[in-house]
Amino acid sequence: MPSSQKAEKTEYVWLKWSDKQMHIMIEDKDHDKYTRTVGEAIAACRAYERIAEFRQQFEALLNLLKKWLNERPDKVDKAFLTVRDRGLLFLVVTKEVRYDDKLEDELVELDLAIGNNNDFSEIDLEVLALPQTEEDNYGSFCYPEYTLKF
């Protein structure tokens, strides 16, 4: 935009909570129409904000988990992030079949740190370390459509 040209002023349709019972109609590019109350539109905006927040936190979570894994290349064979119950599952498959108490301690501390960090307020994460095992076994913990392999 040339600097001499004045920026176009944004015009707003202002919907207020005091009009929460009022019905509105929204039409999209395909001319599909959505009728909602103002109260429902406000709830949808809040949900959108939470989704945006979740996406941001999810990216931060991935970076944190990658860092945790990179610090333990001698112990971890594979790792996945998948869904379980109402949240996420960070699944670690160790290189050894033997139980590793130290790794388990480190994993539970990671679990507590994430669970009590406000930067991950939208994230519900469970952690699980499985011993070295066949794919059928650890695969049964992974939701096929929603699994990310590190």
């Binding site: 119950d85 109402r86 949240g87 079949v97 033997r98 139980y99 108490d101 388990e104 301690d105 539970v108 679990d111 507590l112 669970g115 009590n116 519900d124 469970e126 952690v127 699980l128 370390a129 499985l130 011993p131 095992t133 066949e134 076994n137 049964s140 913990f141």
Partner: protein
């Protein structure tokens, strides 16, 4: 729905099963599974004793229980043990090799480790930690039970 005392009675019953299993070193996997269900009843007894709202005292799913333990500072030490016991039970129940489930669990954790790590370093401290958060009778019952368990592990 069971109350604090009933959960502790269930836990003590499960501890009797653990003592019974300790006589035979074949059942590492079942010892792990029963240990987890013992811990689960102890944790539910604690939540019954400590939580005030009715929906939080009763009917916790695994998911709700885990979240509640993790988020409150007073339960975090309990959670550290509970988490490990839960994990061992998942290994014992869901992982297998073509030559059998029990064989796999013994590769993961030997009979000696079941006694020294799982029972002495995880279930016993969970019981003692829980005793701090329970009523006097339940706390005494759990402390007595840790003594019996220690004796059976020898």
């Amino acid at each position: 729905m069971p109350n604090e005392v009933q959960h502790i009675q269930w836990a003590l019953h499960n501890l009797d099963v653990i003592v019974y299993l300790l006589a035979e070193p074949t059942y590492c996997d079942w010892t792990a599974t029963v240990s987890f269900y013992t811990a689960l009843h102890i944790v539910d007894a604690v939540l019954f004793a400590q939580e005030t709202s009715p929906d939080r005292r009763h009917g916790f799913s695994h998911d709700q229980r885990r979240r509640t333990l993790k988020k409150s500072a007073k339960y975090q030490e309990l959670y550290r043990y509970y988490h490990k016991l839960h994990k061992h039970s998942e290994v014992s129940r869901y992982l297998k090799l073509s030559h059998g489930k029990a064989m796999f669990f013994q590769q993961y954790m030997t009979w000696e480790e079941v006694k020294s790590v799982l029972l002495r370093q995880q279930l016993t401290p969970l019981m003692l930690e829980a005793a701090k958060l329970l009523g006097e009778q339940s706390a005494n019952d759990l402390k007595d039970a840790t003594a019996s368990l220690a004796k059976s592990c020898n």
